[in-house]
Symmetry: C2
């Protein structure tokens, strides 16, 4: 049982955008920071845009941004928007037309639906802000984000500005 | 997000065996009742036997049986025994050697592990006996099981013995 790779990458991209706190990120930037291929990222960004999770603006000051505040996007929102389906067993996917002989008297379905709902409830309990806010220094360290708000909050001794920024 | 087809079919096979209450079932019988191909069923039966969920005996009086009492096998036992992995995202599967740049500071992992544990907890709450006992008449109707214990418990008016058995 796995999530689709697109869902995995979508969560990483959205966490990166959440860590930028409203600042736009270019495709090239996200590609570099997350180590994804540009073609792959373009496809996922189009999907994130189509599902209303990010906005994508063209031009020099353009780029990807979260479409809503990071505390308004839960992990459940992302997983449900990107994952193709949650057909744990064949009968969950009514459209495939293949029957299971047990189905008319099956009590297993209910157990699996309960398990799926318990899974979603946990994902609903965490939003992108929570995943990035409390952990912002560590993530900034990984992403080498420049952010004066972060420095003023945590002190520059923890936040290491990247060499390129130091030089400018 | 789906369970593997082998897990789906394993659950059906084990529910069928649970409904037989200790009586052995031949491969041919399970194939017919569940509408699975014989080759497919042979592979799954070998796996169920290897994981200690069923016993398989050769010969005329042989066949497949649950290796333990139906109330001692939970849905979680089956899913964990048959599903290849639960690597929801790449970093859950440490052996694939591909890194995620966020991993060292990732709070998402914990949320996904909690969700997976909530999923397992629901599956743990149901065993094969519960899935078949309370629903035994309906399942017997589907499977056309002959079972004197069932008739004495529920009355023969509900349980329709198959034509073939009536003739003998």
């Amino acid at each position: 049982m796995r999530l689709n790779a697109q869902t995995d990458f979508s969560l990483r991209i959205l966490m990166y955008l959440a860590a930028k706190q409203g600042e736009a990120a270019t495709i090239q930037e996200v590609t570099n920071k997350l180590g994804l291929s540009q073609a792959h990222l373009m496809r996922i960004a189009a999907k994130l845009s189509a599902t209303g999770l990010v906005t994508a603006a063209r031009g020099r000051s353009g780029g990807l941004k979260l479409a809503r505040s990071a505390d308004e996007i839960t992990v459940e929102d992302v997983v449900k928007a990107i994952e193709p389906d949650f057909a744990l067993v064949q009968c969950f996917n009514r459209t495939d037309g293949v029957g299971c002989t047990i189905e008319p008297a099956c009590l297993l379905k209910g157990v699996l639906y309960s398990a799926l709902n318990a899974f979603f409830a946990e994902l609903r309990s965490a939003n992108l802000a929570e995943l990035t806010e409390s952990n912002r220094v560590d993530l900034a360290e990984i992403f080498r984000l420049t952010d004066s708000r972060l420095e003023s909050r945590t002190g520059p001794q923890i936040y290491q500005a990247p060499a390129q920024v130091k030089r400018s």
